[in-house]
Symmetry: none
Subunit: 408 residues, 2 copies
């Protein structure tokens, strides 16, 4: 079995409090170091050198697609990953349950842990905006404040801006069309009408009365962003002849995997409310037990959570949990493994950066190089040199003999 | 003189029976090691990381062309290399003399050494398929069971599938059009009719009666594959201002060189029936004596033959013959030399792989690096890092001062 482990935001920069090492370098990672020692290492520019990848484009690239040509917006992945059906002509979005006062967004996440998310989403699911009886919205709650939304109807376009101001303290923006087409103009109007309709329904719901008595902020707006459609990708089986599966607890990454034709390994829903380290442990158990696949994709989120918050020490802890997981995976499955990240999220800046990410590849057909440990610095000297994100899966599949000739 | 030596399928993976070394690492190669020591080394992804190059696309790339944009199928190279004329509108193919029984291919090579190849080809040369009087086939035998075929007529397309099942024990496939064009549909029909016509002619030939009395399998079918046209390439002289020539005994590689405007160095026809090591020695003599050229391309086939058969030790022997050849070339010609491969063919798997290939560049203008020997591992640490195939000729021509400015 070939395994690709993507440790979200793992790449970092030297940290003074870690003695000038990166979190990966500072972490105690005997399994990863052993694989680097016996395998080959390098660096990966997931999108392009110096360009910070988005979470969606990064995963698209790491699964072998072109992050520029094959990218059709985030929404399609969010919706697929949330379990919604997305048909041709549909436009999909990411949504946030939020709290507004007099049209101003005061909390983009309505307190973050929206326990009533499923109930709230069911109030909005199936609604048509006033004036557009032929357009219907499907709404699905995923985790905390997060939702996915699909618009279904004729003449819709993904060329529309966001209904999310992205910062608090400002008004909910009017959605604008992003090109001159009639479809974009109409879709923008649909979204503006839908935003008002959702606001009306949420404001009048008993759920907010209940939340009010519990001292919680009202959930009275769904902020919609990231218009997209599901890209028409050549699937993994068609491209490589492999049966692929994935372990990924977050909707967006599940959606990218599904669009590539990978099948989910059943992960208990409780995993989403676990701590970062516990989540890695639960994933390790699922991934080690995965069978009937030629390829397994494993996504770890906790490293990125810690990075965005600047929690360097916690990032080290999650990386050590990943090390244990990779040890379990090597014990459970033969074949080739690659471990890398979707992007760097330096703790010092708390957001995605364009620094390349380290990679290691290990297995029976790998030409070993001189690298002895897994870290940004040591991988910089490895014989894989500097790859692009979309090369990674080809490197791995080549070792398994799964890439067809170009030419004859 | 600048020299590019391409050692076919030389790249490999660690081999247990060679103490974990690759054949190149295990071979005794004092000349190549000396050049690596005094020059610079690196790795080359001839097509793209992880993608196994075909023989045609690989050579196109190593001569500086784009293996995706500039590739127009194998057939044109085969025909050019066989000495056939290919005009605009012609579609060319690779052909195999084969043995069929009741429509089933029992030997794709009709015993492999088809001594009557020239005679058989002359029976088919100039034939028109029934129902298509305006279309004529030109057929030329090259070596053993191998032929090239050119279809001449109006309204032909290279968007057609193969009339070769590629495996034995199955029926000769019906050629299918690969796009929706009228030309592709017609060309598929032409090929199906031509296959039957060739079958009829071969079945009725006296040559097969003679072969039968000698206990040889009948040659009663020409399996046609690899539809292509000759790409319209900017020639070597136009691009670099150099007079280029080549030493290459196999039709396909000769064809790629001819399409790039290189001129053949006369190699005795007997070279094609020599053993792999003797062939290298004959090529060495020709290449060392080559004059009146600014650039010489030398192709060695024996390494790939040994690799496809999993004959690791023989691969080592051919590499040692290449080492001696390179020594002779350095003694005979000044200037710069690059030695690399068109792809890896690991002995363990016996087919082209997407592993990068080693390269060395040596000569007066090269910046030497720390590499001390020529092998996959040591080249991985060289200062050329990881190039693409089409960069190789530019690296070499740059050292000779032959690459024009891009911009002003």
């Amino acid at each position: 079995m070939a395994i690709l482990v993507v440790v979200d935001g793992m790449g970092d920069r030297p940290v003074a409090s870690l003695g000038g090492e990166t979190p990966l370098e500072a972490a105690n990672t005997p399994h990863l170091d052993g694989l680097a020692d016996g395998g080959a290492t390098g660096l990966v520019d997931v999108v392009r050198p110096g360009v910070p990848p988005g979470s969606d484009t990064a995963h698209l690239a790491l699964l072998g697609y072109d992050p520029y040509c094959d990218y059709t917006g985030r929404g399609g992945f969010e919706a697929l990953g949330a379990g919604l059906t997305v048909e041709e002509g549909d436009v999909a979005f990411r949504g946030n349950f939020a709290t507004v006062e007099d049209g101003v967004v005061v909390d983009r996440r309505a307190g973050r842990d929206v326990e009533e998310g499923d109930e709230l989403a069911s109030l909005l699911d199936g609604v048509s905006p006033d004036g557009f009886p032929g357009v219907e919205a499907r709404v699905r709650h995923t985790t905390q404040h997060r939702c996915a939304v699909v618009l279904r109807g004729t003449g819709l376009s993904r060329a529309v801006g966001d209904a999310d101001p992205h910062v608090e303290g400002t008004e909910v923006p009017v959605v604008e069309p992003l090109d001159g087409s009639e479809e974009a103009r109409r879709t923008a109007e649909v979204l503006n009408a839908l935003g008002e309709k959702f606001h009306e329904i949420l404001e009048g719901s008993e759920i907010n009365e209940r939340r009010s008595t519990e001292g919680k902020p009202p959930v009275n707006r769904l902020l919609i962003r990231g218009a997209g459609v599901v890209p028409d990708l050549e699937g993994f089986y068609e491209r490589f002849g492999v049966r692929g599966s994935f372990v990924a607890p977050v909707a967006l990454y599940r959606g990218v995997c599904l669009s590539a034709g990978l099948k989910p390994v059943g992960l208990d829903e409780s995993v989403v409310s676990m701590g970062d380290v516990e989540q890695v442990e639960a994933e390790a158990e699922e991934a080690a037990g995965a069978a009937n696949s030629d390829f397994l994709f494993v996504h770890v989120k906790g490293t990125d959570n810690a990075s965005h918050d600047g929690r360097c020490g916690d990032k080290v802890d999650v990386i050590e949990a990943v090390d244990a997981m990779v040890g379990e995976l090597r014990a459970a499955h033969g074949g080739h493994v690659a471990v890398t990240a979707d992007h760097s999220t330096p703790c010092s800046i708390g957001r995605h950066s364009g620094d390349p990410v380290p990679i290691l590849v290990h297995g029976p057909e790998v030409r070993p190089d001189d690298s002895e440990s897994f870290g940004e610095g040591s991988c910089g000297g490895g014989n894989l040199h500097r790859l692009r994100g979309r090369d990674v899966i080809y490197e791995l599949m080549n070792l398994e003999g799964r890439v067809g000739l170009h030419g004859e």
